[in-house]
């Protein structure tokens, strides 16, 4: 019996499993796809899944179902239907979203729950094929805006497919968990933006990591931004070129549109890795074959609007969290679209140089952005597999997960009057942190709350760059915390043991802050309350 992590997306689904040595494997489908397209297609008595189903969009679009994830657990009245449909059209089946497909010569109506069930059956088969034994438990990821009803619908659909959902976790948290575990950075106190650019939607979250505990400060979703927009821009570019060359319109029929789009997706992916790519389509429209090439720069110009919208979307999320881009330590780009080099550089541009943007375009050692989420889910699955369902549910109760977070950092003032942080802002308590000082004795320990200030420093232009001398000097901004509200004073007299002095700050469940100064057997303690 194995437990897997599953990332179920509108565009693709990926599966991962944690092996005995703690390494995570992303499982490929029998067709060798690690990002398995979430698509099903029916021809006669056959059911096609994944990439094979996607290929059916050209010949058999009315029986091919794609982009159905977001309809799980949503009534037909509440569902946001896409404006342009190039696949099986969503209809009302018993108040739920459903599809009308021709199966084995008969027209049948199936609900989206049934579609998800069939999809997961295929996924389960692929996983079992790879692992070699039965898969039962699964940690499933969802976007942060999925409601409880949607999760319930997902859970029952997966159950019918023979998979038991042990826990639902949020996609951005899963991605962050995978990234931090892989780089062994779980325990650092940092603020992250996790930006997930998928096929048909984009999601972003600002997450604080405090000693391995994640808190989502803000989330943002855009349902009109994603890889599909890039495909459309590229398709339009080639359609124009084709029109000019052959005086034939490839947008006339759905079939030529589907052909063009499918090839554009391949071209787009190629351009993420190399500088130029060719496109070649037999009989695109009116019997004309189409062959052309494009370089990366041209593609970036064609899709410039979309890339800048994506960067603006990330910036908006930071603003929503009440932060500035200066406050963000790291940006984690997730989702297939994040492979695009231009997106990474646009995002890097809105953040200061000190902020790290994680993307394969900027760091070749970064994990594949389309696999991050399922990796995180697999890690979580390995962690909870030894607990039974009751225990897991216990840990998800509001009283466990809804914790108080301090608003401002707490720390000490050093000999130079600077603020030394002990507990970062937005840290959940109960918490205990300590710092050790080398000091001979007779010192004053002053506990402060930190105030956020922005330190500006101008970069002097380097010698020999006189031609730029009339440009304004560059101003570097940095967030610096300075001592604000004085919380407590603790004098320490006499010799310290081994010349070491430990300052311990603890906040109890009830919100009582205890500051303790200890050296050997000598202990001084002060209690501080909250306002």
């Amino acid at each position: 019996m194995s437990f897997i992590g599953l990332h179920f997306g509108n565009t693709s689904t990926s599966i991962a499993v944690t092996k005995g040595d703690g390494k995570v494997d992303v499982i490929a489908s029998p067709d060798g796809e690690r990002a398995i397209p979430s698509a099903l297609s029916y021809v006669g008595t056959d059911e096609y899944h994944g990439g094979q189903a996607l290929a059916q969009l050209i010949r058999n679009p009315q029986n091919t179902i794609i982009n159905f994830r977001d309809f799980a657990g949503v009534s037909f009245d509440k569902a946001v239907l896409p404006e342009i449909v190039n696949s099986a059209k969503a209809i009302n089946v018993d108040g739920k979203v459903g599809y009308e497909i021709e199966e084995d010569g008969k027209t049948t109506k199936i609900t989206v729950d049934e579609v998800i069930k069939r999809h997961f059956q295929q996924i389960k088969a692929a996983a079992e094929d790879y692992i070699g034994n039965k898969v039962e438990g699964v940690v499933l990821t969802t976007p942060t805006n999925f409601s409880d009803e949607q999760k319930k619908a997902l859970k029952s659909a997966t159950k019918e497919a023979g998979l038991n959902v042990l826990q639902f976790i949020n996609e951005p948290s899963a991605a962050l968990l995978a990234h931090l575990t892989a780089n062994n950075k779980l325990e650092e106190d940092r603020i992250y933006v996790v930006a997930d650019f998928g096929g048909v939607r984009s999601d972003a979250a600002v997450i604080t990591a405090r000693g391995g505990i994640f808190t989502i400060l803000a989330t943002e979703h855009n349902f009109e931004l994603g890889g599909d927009q890039l495909d459309a821009a590229l398709s339009e570019f080639f359609a124009k070129e084709f029109e000019k060359k052959y005086k034939a319109n490839p947008r006339k029929t759905q079939r030529s549109l589907a052909k063009l789009k499918s090839e554009c997706i391949t071209t787009k992916k190629t351009l993420s890795n190399v500088q130029s790519s060719t496109i070649s389509i037999d009989s695109l429209s009116d019997g004309f074959d189409f062959h052309s090439s494009i370089n990366r720069l041209r593609y970036e110009v064609v899709a410039r609007d979309i890339f800048s919208k994506m960067a603006a979307f990330v910036e908006e999320t930071v603003r929503k969290a009440g932060l500035e881009t200066l406050d963000i330590d790291e940006v984690l780009l997730v989702g297939g679209t994040s492979n695009t080099p231009r997106l990474a550089s646009n995002v890097q541009f809105i953040f200061p140089e000190s902020t790290v943007v994680v993307s394969p375009a900027l760091d070749s050692k970064a994990l594949d952005p389309s696999e991050l989420i399922c990796r995180g889910a697999a890690l979580q699955a390995a962690l909870i597999e030894s607990y039974d369902e009751d225990e897991i549910n216990q840990s998800l109760q509001p009283v466990v997960v809804n914790l108080e977070h301090i608003a401002k950092p707490i720390g000490l003032k050093n000999a130079d009057g600077e603020f030394i942080q002990i507990i970062s802002r937005e840290t959940a308590y109960p918490i205990k942190r300590s710092l050790t000082f080398d000091t001979p004795g007779d010192v004053l320990i002053e506990l402060y709350e930190g105030e956020r200030t922005i330190e500006e420093s101008t970069v002097e232009p380097e010698e020999g760059e006189e031609e730029y001398s009339d440009e304004e000097p560059e101003v570097l901004k940095k967030v610096v915390y300075v001592p604000g509200q004085l919380l407590a004073q603790i004098p320490f007299k006499g010799e310290t043991a081994n010349g070491k002095l430990e300052v311990i700050v603890r906040i109890t469940v009830d919100g009582l802050l205890q500051a303790t100064v200890r050296s050997g057997d000598k202990v001084e303690r002060v209690d501080v309350h909250s306002t």
Partner: protein, 446 residues
């Protein structure tokens, strides 16, 4: 950053809590990772109260369903609107943003659009719908497209009549601030410079009121009228026709813009005319002017009286002096004429009417001498020719003939400096005697 602690000052002896830390906020943490598991297993038991509180009092990052406010029922007329003529539809009402209009944020537009798409998607219409019934949906898409594009949105906002506020009917009775405040706030949306000053209230100081009117009379407006353009035909079959329409559109835009500027400047003028504050400021100014004028007049009257009193005193003194002189001189020379001069000492024409010991020729000669002396002295090297001439005239008017001769003799052949000294001395003497006042002279005795 150094990890050294400050030395202990003598003033601190006991450990104490001196402040409170900022109140904490309850938020959900993410139940993932081994650190969460450790936190959970670290274990403790919770009371019922804690359990309830943990559920109620949470600030979640995800706000669920706040879009109900955009779910506004559109009028039958709007729903039946011809999609080909979408430009004439109220695009804000189409999205249910009636209450926001030009103030709606991009996020609100996006959310409102989703709400409308949910309701009006042609696939949702079922029986009552059908493919030919997607007119309103098309308008929704157009509205979304227009309002999400900053340039197109500005063009639509420019002609969004619904957001305009009508000025109060002239000659009707109304509250000035209630009627004009919102009007100027809405007109201010066209200003390139933001924020726009507010109309204020009855107590707004004069500087702010003036600044307000100055701002609106010089308003730099981004308002454009492209939205009302006649559609330019897309085909290339008739270029001349296309160009003609383009030209017509341009002219119409220009005309509308001029009209709009005129309308605004008239509005500002009317508001300024009817502004009770400006009237109050004017009245106040007038009052102050009047008050100052009265004060000035009172002062002038007082000064005139003083001068009169002084003159009288001088006359009296002069008369007495003349009397005394007459007494002393009358005896040896028996010249009764001098006594006749009493009462006739009004500065001017002093020498006239009284007989002197000086012959006519002598008198004329001395006068010419005096006049020429300043010219010879080159006006003492100054540019003040007219002032000096004026003073000389005053002297000649006031000097008795004897004095004239005396001065004329004294200055004959004297240097420029000496001439000036002589005139100064003469002037001082006459001022002391009261025949002339210091104010009469412009150059000498200064």
């Amino acid at each position: 950053m150094s990890l050294t602690l400050p030395a202990l000052p003598s003033s601190v002896s006991t450990a104490a809590s001196l402040g409170k830390y900022t109140a904490a906020v309850r938020k959900p943490i993410e139940p993932v990772g081994r650190h969460f598991l450790a936190l959970y297993l670290w274990g403790h038991t919770w009371s019922e109260f804690e359990k309830i509180q943990a559920e109620t009092d949470v600030k979640k990052a995800e706000d669920v369903n706040e879009d109900a406010e955009f779910d506004i029922e559109q009028s039958e007329e709007l729903i039946e609107h011809d999609p080909r003529d979408w430009k004439s539809a109220d695009l804000y009402a189409v999205l249910g943003l009636n209450n926001y209009r030009y103030k709606a944020t991009e996020d609100q537009i996006r959310r409102a659009y989703r709400v409308q798409v949910l309701k009006h998607h042609p696939d949702k219409m079922g029986e009552k719908g059908g493919l030919d019934k997607d007119g309103f949906f098309k308008i929704i898409q157009k509205a979304h497209e227009t309002l999400m594009d900053p340039v197109k949105r500005q063009q639509f906002d420019s002609v969004d009549e619904e957001a305009n506020i009508e000025p109060p009917a002239p000659k009707s009775k109304y509250d000035f601030f209630e009627a004009w405040g919102p009007l100027f706030a809405s007109e201010g949306r066209f200003s390139k410079k933001q924020p726009v000053p507010e109309l204020g209230n009855a107590d707004t100081p004069k500087e702010e009121v003036d600044a307000f009117y100055k701002f609106f009379s010089n308003l730099d407006s981004w308002r454009t009228f492209e939205f009302l353009d006649e559609d330019v035909p897309d085909d290339t079959s008739n270029r001349y026709h296309k160009r003609m329409i383009e030209k017509k559109n341009k002219a119409a835009r220009q005309k509308r813009k001029t009209e709009d500027n005129k309308r605004l400047s008239e509005l500002v003028r009317r508001a300024a005319n009817e502004d009770p504050r400006l009237k109050a400021f004017r009245d106040k100014e007038k009052e102050e002017k009047n008050k100052k004028k009265q004060e000035r007049e009172a002062e002038a009257a007082k000064a005139a009286e003083e001068v009169k009193a002084k003159r009288e005193a001088v006359e009296r003194a002069r008369a007495e002096a003349a009397k005394a002189r007459a007494k002393s001189k009358a005896k040896p020379s028996y010249q009764p004429i001098q006594t006749q001069s009493k009462g006739k000492g009004k500065g001017k024409g002093k020498g006239k009417g009284k007989k002197s010991t000086v012959s006519k020729e002598q008198r004329t000669e001395s006068k010419i001498n005096i006049r020429n002396s300043v010219k010879d002295a080159n006006y003492f090297g100054t540019e003040l020719q007219s002032e000096i001439d004026h003073d000389i005239n005053v002297f000649l008017d006031n000097f008795e003939d004897e004095k004239s001769v005396e001065v004329s003799n004294a200055i004959a052949g004297a240097t420029a400096d000496a001439v000036k000294e002589i005139f100064d001395a003469a002037a001082k003497e006459y001022i002391e005697q009261g025949f002339i006042t210091a104010d009469d002279l412009k150059f000498f005795a200064k």
